[in-house]
């Protein structure tokens, strides 16, 4: 069961500065576990952000993204009260969506 993201969004004028922390192992497939066995690839492949339901930012990612990923992006034309939702999907088909309401600047 995927754990919640932590989304922070700061409004400066009509630009929304978004930071998101995701709990994910981002296994490279190269790491060995305690018993010396390779841990299989397990990583986030896509991330989408929607503002009030409209897709605005999208990422395709590889296992080279650091464990517990951190991303930042900036949306234009946002305002307080807007709904920002972010979804990730990984190579095993797990996904997680979290949503916040943009606070006043």
């Amino acid at each position: 069961m995927a754990e919640p993201m932590k989304i922070r969004a700061k409004l400066e004028g009509d630009v929304l500065d978004v930071r998101v922390l995701m709990a994910h192992p981002m296994e490279t497939g190269q790491r060995k576990d305690g018993a010396g066995n390779l841990v299989p690839l397990h990583f986030i492949q896509t991330i989408t952000a929607q503002l009030n339901g409209k897709p605005v930012f999208q990422a395709d990612t590889s296992q080279a993204i650091s464990r517990n990923p951190v991303f930042g992006f900036r949306l234009k034309g946002a305002k307080a009260g807007d709904k920002l939702s972010i979804t990730w999907t990984d190579n095993k088909g797990d996904k997680r969506t979290d949503e916040i309401v943009v606070g006043a600047a």
């Binding site: 932590k6 922070r8 922390l21 709990a23 576990d33 305690g34 841990v39 650091s66 517990n68 930042g72």
Partner: protein
């Protein structure tokens, strides 16, 4: 044989010496700067601004508030020193003496004590695998991270009013300077001077407040190597390993004493953790 003879001579000689002053009392020299360190520090702000440690604070808060364990209780009644259930500001006032156990306890030790007494968890089971791995974050780690985060922005203020608390500090100082083991290392071998590095890693001089805080607020911290959350209990455990000493028992008096020494040295500094470390 010659060694023993020389030692006896040494004993006689030293007998005439005055007791040396406590270390770390001299005036701080200018800290040596280098390009690598400056480059790291430029990006420290970036790393600290968005610290995955926050994910573990969230997890710890949930663990704190959820009824769990054989007694199906939350930790709402846990007394971290400021009264049952008071979490805000408790971390910066630890380690401290607790009359109910008759011991000086650091944050993690106290949290585990609460898990055992209030929730009915088994102390031995918790001590079995106390440190995070890539696949597992033990509950006390997340809980300690949550509790630490509830003191962010507050000044480090461990009490030293009771004799037990002063004794813990004195004991911690002695352990800090105790050289032994295959490599003749003490904690001070790496953390007793200003401006030194191991490889590219800056070593805080833990005998000075402005640097002791760097060590003290680094943990609980998100460790980039492995991408796991670790506490001060882990940090000290791995320091003992690198010191080529045997392994300290989780939550033992030696570790609480060292943490008391560290916290008192960092007294008055603003706590900005949980940290993010190399």
């Amino acid at each position: 044989m010659t060694r023993a003879l020389a030692l006896c001579a040494a004993a006689a000689f030293i007998a005439a010496l005055p007791v040396p002053p406590a270390a770390g009392q001299s005036k701080p020299p200018a800290v040596e700067r280098d390009a690598t360190t400056e480059e790291f520090e430029k990006f420290r702000a970036v790393l600290e601004a968005d610290n995955p440690a926050e994910l573990f604070e969230v997890k710890g808060e949930e663990l704190w508030k959820t009824p769990r364990g054989p007694k199906n209780a939350s930790l709402a009644a846990c007394d971290l020193g400021l009264g049952p259930g008071v979490v805000k500001g408790a971390y910066v006032q630890l380690p401290r003496y607790f009359a109910d156990t008759g011991k000086v306890m650091d944050a993690e030790r106290r949290i585990v004590h609460c898990m055992v007494t209030l929730q009915g968890f088994d102390a031995a089971a918790l001590a079995k695998q106390p440190f995070s791995t890539e696949t597992r974050t033990p509950d006390p780690v997340a809980l300690t991270t949550f509790v630490a985060g509830q003191s962010r922005g507050m000044k480090i203020a461990p009490p030293q009013s009771l004799p037990q608390e002063r004794a813990a500090f004195a004991l911690g100082r002695e352990i800090f300077f105790y050289r032994a083991g295959s490599y003749d290392f003490s904690c001070a071998s790496c953390h007793g001077e200003d401006g030194k590095r191991i490889r590219t890693q800056q070593l805080p001089n833990l005998t000075r407040p402005e640097q002791a805080i760097r060590g003290y607020q680094g943990w609980p911290g998100y460790r980039m190597t492995g991408g796991v959350m670790h506490t001060l209990q882990w940090r000290l455990n791995d320091c003992f390993r690198q010191q080529r000493f045997p392994e300290p028992e989780y939550l033992s008096d030696s570790l609480t004493a060292l943490l008391t020494y560290l916290a008192v040295n960092a007294k008055g500094q603003v706590y900005k953790g949980p940290g993010i470390k190399r």
